[in-house]
């Protein structure tokens, strides 16, 4: 059983782009340990001879004719954005000063 430490949770939060507080990291460390311990029972029956199922009903790759369909206008696509300019989504700088 791998150890779930505050450092592990902090790393996961960074990967998931959630700026957790110290309190949240502490609480999640305990909760995650319990949950992982409980769900780890799947390894008991997942023997090498059992194939994995990713999808309940097998369907082939679905394609459609390569023709223009009904799509959103630029205005509709931008309508819910927190900020936009010149027909584009507007965000803070991508790179920090040290980069």
């Amino acid at each position: 059983m791998p150890d779930i430490t505050p450092d592990v949770v902090s790393h996961l939060a960074n990967l998931a782009r959630i700026a957790l507080t110290e309190d949240e990291i502490a609480r999640l460390t305990g909760e995650l340990e319990q949950i992982v311990e409980s769900v780890a029972k799947v390894t008991a029956v997942a023997t090498p001879d059992v194939p994995a199922t990713s999808h309940p009903i097998p369907l082939g790759t679905v394609t459609r004719p390569d023709v223009v369909g009904v799509t959103l206008t630029t205005e509709q696509a931008l309508a819910g954005a927190p900020a936009s300019e010149a027909g584009q989504f507007k965000v803070a700088s991508i790179l920090g000063e040290e980069q």
């Binding site: 998931a16 959630i18 992982v36 799947v42 990713s54 989504f89």
Partner: protein
């Protein structure tokens, strides 16, 4: 005119509308009045449509002009807030989407509008459908109409409470691990999770894409069939949508109401989901067994079947769901829609992290972190990979069971509605509420929950669930309607007639 506008079934309201004994404006107004009277106490709705009466009036005008309308035209419907609606906010119960009005309708919503149904509003839910009590909504919990101090189930507690409190005759839900069926069970209503791919998910805000399914939430089996007929069928906009033609589910329910389908029916009782030692409340098992006895008396054969891998279903589910959710919820990034928390001098990454910290509630964070863990290098094979193998084993258990029986029966939930606040801080205890519903999602098979009576010890509703092989949704409607008719004969009317006045 003797029709009770809010307590009648959607089928009866539709017949009265068709016969012009009543107008859609009258029916819609009656529901808006009911919402105004009781929703302060129930809190089933997050948003009430401002134009419902206008929509109703246009249906009345079309009918008056002699237009031939679809069977449910003019009947009001409530919509779970996970479904996109162009004219109402769609938040999925999350602060990160507060006030967001989508630029398109979910396919199921578009189909209901085309069939002339009248949207009443959007119903409350656990944030991004993560929960079994609706207590994880960012907008306050919904109350169970049978006892306002108890949970209405979840994640679709709002839709279930809306129909149970007569605030809507019909509602839409979504079911990833039981979010339609478990709320139905604890509120004395009917909830159907169709075969995976049977109903379009286009415009349903995704939780776990290999599990999610949209379906009807109603007070009768026939009403669920009528609504399923409107929303179901192939949708080219959902690549997981099954292209097959489907029979009429309303007709399947009517066959059940006529008493067809029970004689000779083989009903499987799952050994692993029917014992008190597995956490089932005594009154839940009592009503479950009484329902089986009723079926047996009509010529059904009760067969005990074993599904040994079901024991691992919750564990597999709480790896697969968080893994898929952590990926699906990456789209809430402060760029294209929803909340943005400004970080002075910060990069877009800082803004994303601050936004997601403020916009997501505790259960959503818990599951995203768990999913990120399950998918991370070094653990992927042990956790996510093993969970996918368990999924195969569970499908094999279903295949073996359906080689012996026509339908499987289980209690819909291990207990009746529990008190608000009693499990909200204990994630593992909360996850156990979906013990009986999760296997169907993992295997993609359809499942329906209908009321089976009140538990003697607490007087609260108990649900019985039926499951059928993939694509055999019609069989569920026939069997469930058959049992519903037998039970209502015993009760002298619908179970919800026994609910306390609000």
């Amino acid at each position: 005119m003797s029709l009770d506008l809010i307590r009648s079934s959607a089928a009866d309201v539709a017949a009265a509308l068709e016969a012009r004994e009543v107008s859609s404006v009258e029916v819609t107004q009656a529901h808006l009045d009911r919402i105004a009277a009781v929703d302060g106490a129930v809190h089933a709705y997050l948003h009430v449509a401002s134009d419902a009466l206008d929509v109703a009036r246009s249906i009345d005008e079309r009918r008056a002009a002699g237009e031939q309308l679809a069977p449910l035209a003019g009947v009001p419907v409530a919509i779970k807030d996970v479904l996109c609606t162009v004219d109402m906010p769609s938040t999925a119960g999350s602060k990160i989407l507060e006030g967001w009005v989508p630029p398109y309708d979910a396919t199921v919503v578009a189909r209901m509008r085309a069939a002339g149904l009248v949207p009443l509003g959007k119903t409350n839910m656990d944030e991004f459908a993560m929960g079994s009590s609706t207590e994880h909504s960012a907008y306050g919990n919904t109350h169970n109409p049978w006892d306002l101090d108890r949970i209405p189930g979840g994640s679709g507690g709002g839709s279930a409470a809306a129909v149970a409190a007569f605030e809507a005759p019909l509602a839409l839900g979504s079911d990833t691990g039981g979010s339609i069926r478990q709320p139905a069970a604890v509120t004395g209503s009917v909830g159907m999770k169709p075969t995976y791919g049977g109903v379009s998910r286009y415009g349903a805000i995704a939780l776990a894409s290999s599990l999610d399914q949209v379906g009807p939430v109603t007070r009768t089996v026939l009403d669920a069939g009528l609504l399923h007929d409107v929303i179901g069928g192939h949708d080219p906009r959902d690549s997981t949508s099954i292209p097959d033609a489907w029979p009429s589910f309303a007709d399947a329910a009517r066959a059940g109401l006529r008493g067809e389908g029970l004689k000779g029916l083989r009903v499987g009782v799952v050994t692993e989901l029917s014992q008190e030692s597995q956490g089932f409340q005594a009154g839940v098992l009592q009503r479950f067994r009484e329902s089986l006895a009723l079926l047996e008396a009509q010529g059904a054969e009760i067969v005990e079947v074993s599904a040994p891998s079901f024991e691992y279903a919750i564990a597999a589910y709480y790896l697969i769901l968080p893994a898929e959710a952590s990926s699906n919820l990456a789209k809430f990034d402060s760029v294209r829609f929803g909340l943005r928390v400004d970080v002075p001098g910060g990069t877009v990454e800082d803004v994303m992290a601050a936004t997601r910290e403020q916009g997501f509630g505790p259960e959503v964070k818990r599951r995203i972190i768990l999913g990120t863990y399950a998918l991370s290098a070094g653990y992927y094979d042990a956790y996510y990979g093993s969970a996918q193998k368990v999924r195969t084993l569970i499908q094999r258990d279903f295949d073996a069971a359906f080689a012996q029986v026509d339908v499987l029966a289980t209690p819909s939930a291990p207990t009746t509605a529990f008190p608000l606040g009693s499990k909200v801080d204990d994630p593992l205890a909360m996850y156990l509420n979906d013990l009986t519903t999760i296997p169907a999602n993992l295997a993609g098979v359809p499942g329906i929950s209908i009321p089976a009576g009140l538990a003697p010890e607490d007087g609260l509703p108990v649900g019985i669930q039926f499951m059928a092989p993939v694509r055999e949704d019609a069989r569920l409607y026939t069997v469930a309607a058959g049992l519903e008719a037998l039970l209502e004969q015993q009760w002298g009317g619908p179970l919800l007639a026994q609910a306390p006045a609000l």
